[in-house]
Subunit: 207 residues, 2 copies
């Protein structure tokens, strides 16, 4: 819902956009189909990159390793560390930056927000700052990393997305990636709290 | 020859090693077969990651786009910019860092040297420094980026590799990736100068 709202927000602002979705072997690969539909609705060119070969090198996360159960509960719980995919964000940003540089684009935008949790080291401000420095230096086309939602929490994002008429039915959040959302993993828990804060009904089906 | 000598150097120092080779759709994919053989000689575990899907997003380089001719001459020539693959080093480092973090390894070593040329923005000191900062922050396992050859030039690397008995016949340098090395591209030119400085005979066949 963060990336979806970001796409609608940047589109509403009138920017020339290109959407990039990354298959890193995530259990919840359904989110990629939703991403494609959203880009189609807005007539934004869409690319999907396949990093399944990379995912095999990043072991031990419940998000990419089906032998590890997805933990339930709140992100603040210790067991949520199982959902960390080592260096996921640097890898995804590196690919997006390379793509932007090759097109001569000036910015890579991503949906980081103030509620991103301390269990993910690559969501920290210091990390984002180091990556931005590297992005500005990596190519003769300077690429900026921008995080338009960094001062907002997920509830604020839900409120904004609602204003922008983001079709929530095409977004996917649950880490388990089954037919219905589980409603119990850290990601579902946070989504449900965001919809409650926004006073909006979530159209997804929950188990 | 830089990565090959690095592997032999770290092996001689007695480190626990894992070799990672990256297929980014380079014309000179022959270098990957050589890398596998070198790791086998030393009994070092070897992985190859397939980033061909990513390469499609990084357009306009002679190294990945067969519609662009490989330029001939010296690296200092303006036309050598055609060999730049946008953000190649950040992408390769990001994958290696994630792999190291998932294994609990403390270092990622790569063969950057003092002769790496100014046409490659992602060979600059400031870029390496920003990436090192990001690597230390991206995971709970701190990963250091190390460049043991950064004070050496390619001639020095050839001298060291010779001492360590690196089998030069299994290394590959030419950007064209044909049956024989071309002897004319920037990469061949630099290799031949390095062997000359070291007073060593290059066993590769040149066209």
């Amino acid at each position: 819902m963060d990336s979806a709202t970001l796409l609608y927000h940047l589109h509403a602002e009138g920017h020339e956009l290109k959407a990039l979705a990354i298959d890193y072997g995530q259990r919840h690969g359904k989110e990629l189909e939703g991403a494609q539909r959203l880009a189609n609705y807005l007539d934004v060119p869409f690319s999907k990159v396949d990093l399944a070969s990379v995912a095999k090198l990043l072991q031990g996360s419940s998000q990419t390793d089906t032998t590890v159960d997805v933990p339930e509960g709140h992100y603040s719980d210790e067991n949520m560390k199982l959902t960390v995919v080592p260096n996921r964000n640097m890898i995804m940003l590196a690919v997006a930056i390379g793509h932007a540089a090759s097109l001569g684009y000036r910015n890579v935008a991503y949906g980081a927000h103030s509620g991103d949790h301390a269990i993910y080291p690559d969501c920290r401000e210091e990390f984002a700052s180091a990556m931005n420095t590297a992005a500005l230096l990596c190519d003769w086309n300077k690429v900026n990393l921008i995080r338009p939602f960094i001062e907002m929490d997920k509830g604020d994002i839900c409120i904004l997305g609602n204003k922008l008429k983001v079709p929530w039915k095409d977004t996917w959040t649950c880490y388990k990636g089954l037919e219905k959302s589980c409603g119990k993993c850290g990601s579902c828990t946070e989504r449900l709290e965001a919809f409650e804060k926004a006073g909006v009904t979530d159209p997804l089906h929950y188990a």
